[in-house]
Each structure stands twice: as structure tokens, then as C-alpha cells.
Amino acid sequence: MASEALPSGGPPERVHGRRLFVIWAALTVVGVLLIVFVAGPHMPPGNFSQEARDQRHINILLAALAVPVLFGVWTCLAYIFTTFRQGEGELQDGPPVRGHPRLQVVWVVATAAIVLSLGAFGTEELLGSAKGAGGGQGPDPLAVPAGQKVQVQVIGQQWAWTFRYPAYGGVETSQLALPEGQTTELHVTSLDVSHSFWAIQLGVKADAIPGNDNVAFVTPRHTGSFEIRCAELCGLWHGHMHNTGVVMTQAGFAAWIKQQQAANAPATKTLPPYSTHYFPDPIRRAG
């Protein structure tokens, strides 16, 4: 390479390159191992549902891919800072190199390859293996998990969540309960402004938009409770729009929903018929 004959002092390019590579490779190996084996098992959103586990795997993979890039740039910067300094009180120019066509081509090809494979991988995960990954997919979901599904409608309004079970006479509850090990089909909508239904540990997020039926799927893997929060700014008490949901055994769920149907029967009669969306009265200015 021509640059080795440059007037600037120091060892030739290939010595720098070898040192850089060794430092970078060592850091990357340690970093990736730490991400995968130490941080990985604790990576959010956890293992509560099939969808959460898929997201966790993707988060681990993306973090592990970020490590070589991060350490690549940091190692180069740190190496440059320690090696190519201007001496005290000096003002000398470096070599007038204006580029290196081969390196530039390699860089463009390498970044393009990484990016295209990321795009392909993400698409495969979204539509293939992860089946929508717990995200809202609109009224006609493209990625649908196989098997029987429990339907639950999630209705957002300022500032509370209501849950409606159309298969059980359209009963409405203020607490969300899901059966363990079975896929739930969530239909998220809103009565007033835009909200976003976020079941944190389940790895579900779907915006609640008035007039829209936003479908998301979730398959809880074990019983327990999870947090629900609104993730889209919806006005004054947005921060208070949280709730706790539970995943029950299938028998427990059957008993619970029967109890809800009985307790809420008078209220259920006065509700509007089940629909994928409801329009309340036109919004008037507050105040």
C-alpha cells in the first residue's frame, strides 16, 4: 500500500492494523459473551409469554450485533487518540491522504450487507417465527398464531382500561384476566383519544385509536400477574392509566369468567352490542 511510504512517522499500516484487530477482537469476544450469557437471561421483557420470549431473543441478538460495531469505533478512536497526537507546542501537518477507494468500497459493501440481513431477519421474525411478536397489527393481521384463540376486547378511554369478552356474552370487566397456555386475540380500540395498550411483562403493545380495531396476539406461558400501562400520551391523567392483569390456569379462568358474567349481568344488558369499535359523542372542548 502506498500509505506505508508516507513521510509521517510511526510503524507501518499493517502493524497498526494488527494491533487494532487484536484489541477489537478481544473486546468483542468478551462483550458478546457477556451479553449472551450474563445479561441475556435477564434481558427484558422476559419469558412470561411466547411473544415476550421472542422479543427477548431478538433484543439479545441485536445487542450482540451492536457490540462489534460499538467496540470497533471506540477502539479505533482510543487507538487514534493515543497514537496520533500532536506534540506539545508543535503544529505539524499529517500526510495529505484524501481517501482510500478500496477501503471505502469494502465499508459500503460491509454495512450494506449487515443492514440488508438485519432487514431480512426482522421481516422473517415478524411474519414468520414470532407471529407478530405481540405488536398491534391493525384490523387484518398478517401474522396469526395457529390454534384456538380467546377473544378479548381492550377499550381505552380517558383514563382507564376496560376489557370485554365477546365469547362470554360481551361481559365487561375492569381487570384483565387471561388463561395460561392459550393464545389470546386482543382487539384494542379507544372511545376518545389515542392510547396505547402496553402489557409490559407480556411483551404486548398495540395503540388504541378511536374508530380502529387493532389486533394483537399473546400466548402466556405460565400464571402470574403483569403490569398494564398506557404508552401514548392521552391527556391529564395519562400517568395514572395503569392496571394489573393476571394470567390464570385454564380452570381458574373458566371459574373467574363465570363469576364475572353473573356479577355483571345487569350492567352487561345496558351495554351497546359488541362491535369492533364504538363512537362516543363528539368530543367537546374540555373546560
Binding site: L77, Q86, Q104, L126, A133, G203
Partner: protein, 624 residues
């Protein structure tokens, strides 16, 4: 100042006419809306408030004398050319068409509003020390969040193009002025009323939507929303004017010899940003106009219950909003790539790649907006497309990193304050970019969307990127603009505190977001209090570092006043070949550009420009 000067067209008359205009407009609006049902039954009349803002703006512009020139021409009188005045500190408080005056006016104004928005951030962090509402009630907290976000977005749009673009682009291209000097002045004089009107939201009860202004929440919000709409609209107008003016200037006013591959890279950054501004800002303006109609004339563009759609707002807003974040990032790219060669004493490495990177980012930025709507339920089939386009942006962004590393490699690096800020830009923007990959990947975005992960991501790109580049530019160019040196010790303290506490503030927020903390809440899960206490403490120290900058600015520019050399950095940039202070006409005669400004290390390099060209100027040459 003599009394005659006070009475003329200046800041004082503009303020008086602006305030008077508000009350006149309010009265007109009240009369106009007398029979409108939608305004009855509320204690705030939106028509009156909008008319108040409109008349206030007109009063402000009349008071500044923006109509003097066209009126005089229309009536066949010789126009007064007071806006071209060349001396005296009074011109900083008046309509002035000298691009160097406009640059300094922008600098001070943007800084002032930055401080207000930064103070809001401190108030927000103080509230988040506890997981419950303690310091502010819900409305005060949301208003603080909304004001912080909107003010920052409004001011960062102008942060580099305003002060440094206006001041240095004409000089760098060897021109004496911008293509449209009166429009240039107008673009600046729209910024103070925009900032003040936004602040007036406090008096109108605040507004609850954050800077994104999502409808239909914005339809039902109280009158503070009108202030958001009008102020953001003014900034949209100002951005469009700046963009058009910059494009015209760079396309038509370059000095002889300044070919496209000799153009300083900062000017390329400004040019790409300007392209984004003229294409994106009008969309913001029209979207806000629709919301105005919804709120005043009872239309229903965004109301699902009356045939409109909230998705219309989401799409239009992000069609502006995503290019907007590159409007913030691209000038930063330009600044750091302009500064690196000076302090590495090497030519910019891969000039064409850098230009390709900026153009590539600018083009792609219009094709990614629906990644803000991955879980919204709209066009779910298109998610793979937007995932791919979003990830593609990292290719041209990567070019900028290769340019940076290539320029530094085998350089003779001087760790001056501007260089430290430029280098920190790379570290911060890298983290911002890599976290963006998580958000672009749909399955990962499901858990991170709308959480503090997003908030940390864009603070890493905007504050870690743009604001660090802004300080690099300030320490690099302000001594040239004012002729006064900064105190270097205070500047270094500022840098190290800001760099350390910036990272301490925002890095933990990635974790907070992934663990389940939504944005814009004052009530969060108690299990996250530990992270938040750490973040708030770091944020306060980050605030202290800004205070140190302010102290340094006042101490260096007002008290100590140590004169700066004409070329303190031994830069080859043409702006540093001019005397300090830069003469009003910039150049005695039109300069002839002989090379790009990066010929470091080239033996017998010719000067970047022949400032007083002889009969037969040397064109070409330079890089051998």
C-alpha cells in the same frame, strides 16, 4: 441612545405594537366568532386567541419595519435603507440585513430559549425523583414536558443553520450577502415571537400533547394548544424561508472557482438540511392549519366520530417529523467534518463519500416515517418496508463515521475544546444510531416503542449529536464572530462535565424504558425509582455544566474581553483568512477560490482563495 432612535422601527416599537396587536386581534376574533356554537360553552375562545396571535405577529413585523420597503416601493417613493446600516450596536435590536448581524441575533435568541427549555428539563427531572406526583400537579407536569419538547424542537431546528449557517455560509462561498437578505432577516424575526407565543401557553393553561401534538387529544385540549399551533407554525414558516434562502444562496452566489467538489463540507450539510426544510416544513404548516380549522371552524379532519381520522395527523405529522430529526442531525455532521481536518491537520478523508452520505440520509429520511406507527394498527403489511428503509439509513450515516475515522488516522491531533466536542459527537451519535436499530426492528420496537428507550435514543442523537456539534461550532467560530476568546479552562470543565453527565443521564434511561417506563408520565412503577434518582442527579449536574458554559460566555465576551487572533486555530478555512471582526462587505473584491479548504500537509499548497485576485488568477491547482 438619542430619543429619535428609540422612536424608530426597532425592538421596542415591535414589542409595543405586538402586545397592542394581540388585544386588538382578540377583540376582532371575539366579534367574528359571536355566533359560533363551538366557541360557546367554553371559557376560552379559540378564534379570538388565534386572531390575537395573528394581529400580534403583524404588529411585531410592522413595528420592526418589514413593510417599509415594499410600501415605499409601491407608493413610488425611494425606500429607506436603514436596514443596511453598518455600524453601532443598535442594529442588533433592529431589522438588519447584514448576515453577520442576523447570525449573532440568532445565536443569542436560540441560546435564551434553550436555557428556558433546559430549565423545564430540570423541573421534569426533579418531579421524577419520586414515583408519585410530588412537585407539580398533573397539568403542570404535562405542560412542562410539552413546553420542553416543543421549545427544544423549535430551537434546535435553527440552532446551527441560524447562527452559523447565516454567518458563515456566505463567507465560505465567497459572497457578500445571502441571496435574499430581507427574507433572511424575516426568518430570524419570526423566531422570537414563536418562542414567546409558545411560552404564553403557560398563561393559557398549558397544553397536554407533548411536541407531537397528537390529534384528537389536540382537538379537545384547552387554549394552550392554540399557542403550540401558532408558535410551531411560525417556526415552520421560518424554516421554509431559511431553506429556500440557503439553497438560492449556495446555488447562485458561489465565488468563481468554487466548484462543487471544493465546497466546504459544512456548506454541503447546510444545503442538504435546506432541501429537507423546504420539503418538510410546509407539511407541518398545512397540518397545523388543519388542526386550527378543527379547533376554530368546527371541521373534523382528525375526529373519527365525524368522518375524520387520527391517523391523518399521525401520518402528516411524521412525514414532517422524521425529516425534521435529520434537519437537526445533518448540520451536526457538517460541523464535525468541517472541524476534524483542522485539528487533525489532514485533509477531509473521503470528501465525496461524505457528500454522498449526507445526500443519502436526506433522501431516505422521507421514506421512513411510518416506523413511528409500527404498533398503531395502520398499514401493518408495510411494516417490513419501513423496517428496511429505516435500517438503510445507517448505511449513509456510516459513511460519516468512516470519514471521521479516516481523517483522524495518522493525523496530528490537537485536543482543543472544539475538537473534544466534535470527537464526543462520534461516540454519542454511535450509541444513538445503534439504539435506533432496536427501534427499527419491529419485534424489538413492540417493547421499546413509546418508552424511555425512545427518549434516550433521540436524546443521544439530538443532544449527543446536534448539541455537542453546536458547542463544537460555538467554541470554533464564536471567537471569529465576536473577536473575543473563550476562557479555555472553563471551556474544558464544561466539556468534561457535559460529556460525563450527559452519558450518565441518558444511558440508564435505555434500561428504564426496556423495564417498562413509558414516556411523559410523572407516575411510574416504584421498582424504577433507583434508576430515576440516579438519572435525575446526573441531569442536575448536566444542568450545572450548562451553567458553566453560560458563566464562561458572559465572563469571556462581556467581562474579560481578551481579543482573539484572526486565525486562532491555524485553519485553512476561508472564513479565517479574513480579518477579525469580519468587514461589513466580507471581501474587498470578489475572491477567487483556488482549492478546497482542506489542503493540510500538502507541500507548497496555494492559499484557499485569492482574496485580492490579480489580473490573471490561478484557477485550479492546490491538491496535487
Amino acid at each position: 441612545m438619542r430619543p429619535r432612535r428609540l422612536v424608530g422601527f426597532n425592538l421596542l416599537s415591535a414589542t409595543l405594537l405586538g402586545v397592542g396587536g394581540y388585544f386588538l386581534g382578540h377583540w376582532v376574533g371575539t366579534r367574528l366568532s359571536a355566533g359560533m356554537d363551538s366557541q360557546i360553552g367554553t371559557d376560552q375562545n379559540d378564534v379570538a386567541i388565534f386572531m390575537g396571535f395573528l394581529f400580534a405577529l403583524l404588529g411585531w413585523l410592522i413595528g420592526l419595519g418589514f413593510f417599509n420597503y415594499p410600501l415605499a416601493r409601491m407608493m413610488g417613493r425611494p425606500p429607506s435603507l436603514r436596514e443596511k446600516e453598518e455600524a453601532g450596536s443598535g442594529r442588533y435590536f433592529r431589522l438588519c440585513t447584514d448576515h453577520k448581524v442576523v447570525g449573532l441575533q440568532y445565536f443569542v435568541t436560540v441560546l435564551l430559549f434553550f436555557m428556558i427549555a433546559g430549565l423545564n428539563a430540570m423541573f421534569i427531572r426533579a418531579e421524577l425523583l419520586t414515583p408519585n406526583e410530588t412537585l407539580w400537579n398533573a397539568n403542570q407536569y404535562l405542560s412542562l414536558v410539552s413546553l420542553h419538547g416543543t421549545m427544544m424542537l423549535m430551537m434546535t431546528s435553527a440552532a446551527i443553520l441560524g447562527p452559523f449557517g447565516n454567518y458563515f455560509v456566505p463567507i465560505m462561498i465567497g459572497a457578500r450577502r445571502m441571496a435574499f437578505p430581507r427574507l433572511e432577516a424575516l426568518s430570524f424575526w419570526l423566531v422570537p415571537p414563536a418562542g414567546l407565543i409558545l411560552l404564553s401557553a403557560v398563561a393559557l393553561g398549558g397544553f397536554p400533547t407533548g411536541w407531537t401534538g397528537y390529534a384528537p387529544l389536540a382537538n379537545e385540549a384547552r387554549a394552550g394548544m392554540d399557542a403550540y399551533i401558532f408558535a410551531f407554525g411560525l417556526i415552520g414558516l421560518s424554516m421554509t424561508i431559511v431553506g429556500a434562502n440557503m439553497i438560492a444562496t449556495v446555488l447562485t452566489m458561489r465565488a468563481p472557482g468554487l466548484t462543487w467538489n471544493r465546497l466546504p463540507i459544512f456548506v454541503w450539510g447546510v444545503l442538504c438540511t435546506s432541501m429537507l426544510m423546504v420539503l418538510a416544513a410546509p407539511v407541518l404548516f398545512s397540518t397545523l392549519a388543519m388542526l386550527t380549522l378543527d379547533r376554530t371552524a368546527d371541521t373534523s379532519f382528525f375526529l373519527a366520530s365525524a368522518g375524520g381520522s387520527p391517523f391523518l395527523w399521525d401520518n402528516l405529522f411524521w412525514f414532517f417529523g422524521h425529516p425534521e430529526v435529520y434537519i437537526l442531525a445533518l448540520p451536526g455532521f457538517g460541523v464535525v467534518l468541517e472541524i476534524l481536518p483542522v485539528f487533525a491537520r489532514k485533509p477531509l478523508w473521503g470528501y465525496r463519500l461524505a457528500v454522498a452520505g449526507m445526500v443519502g440520509v436526506a433522501v431516505l429520511s422521507f421514506m421512513v416515517w411510518q416506523h413511528h406507527l409500527f404498533v398503531s394498527g395502520i398499514n401493518a403489511d408495510l411494516r417490513p418496508f419501513y423496517m428496511l428503509t429505516t435500517e438503510l439509513i445507517s448505511i449513509p450515516t456510516g459513511f460519516i463515521f468512516l470519514n471521521g475515522l479516516g481523517t483522524l488516522w495518522r493525523g496530528r491531533i490537537r485536543f482543543t475544546v472544539p475538537m473534544l466536542f466534535a470527537l464526543a459527537f462520534f461516540s454519542n451519535f454511535l450509541i444513538g444510531g445503534l439504539s435506533g436499530v432496536f427501534l427499527s426492528d419491529v419485534p424489538s420496537d413492540v417493547s421499546t416503542h413509546g418508552s424511555y428507550f425512545v427518549m434516550a435514543h433521540f436524546h443521544y442523537t439530538i443532544m449527543g449529536g446536534l448539541v455537542f456539534a453546536l458547542f463544537a461550532a460555538t467554541y470554533y467560530w464564536l471567537p471569529k464572530m465576536t473577536g473575543l476568546q473563550f476562557n479555555e479552562m472553563l471551556a474544558k470543565v464544561h466539556f468534561w462535565m457535559m460529556f460525563v453527565f450527559f452519558n450518565f443521564t441518558f444511558a440508564p434511561l435505555f434500561a428504564a424504558g426496556m423495564l417498562g417506563m413509558p414516556r411523559r408520565v410523572s407516575v411510574y412503577a416504584p421498582r424504577l425509582q433507583g434508576i430515576n434518582i440516579f438519572v435525575s442527579s446526573s441531569a442536575f449536574l448536566l444542568g450545572v455544566s450548562m451553567l458553566i458554559f453560560l458563566i464562561n460566555l458572559v465572563y469571556s465576551m462581556v467581562i474579560a474581553r481578551v481579543p482573539a487572533e484572526a486565525n486562532p486555530w491555524a485553519s485553512r478555512g476561508i472564513e479565517f483568512q479574513l480579518p477579525t471582526p469580519v468587514p461589513v462587505t466580507n471581501f474587498e473584491t470578489t475572491p477567487v477560490i483556488q482549492s478546497d479548504p482542506y489542503d493540510y500537509g500538502v507541500p507548497d499548497a496555494v492559499p484557499v482563495a485569492a482574496l485580492k485576485p490579480v489580473a490573471a488568477p490561478v484557477v485550479g491547482g492546490g491538491s496535487t
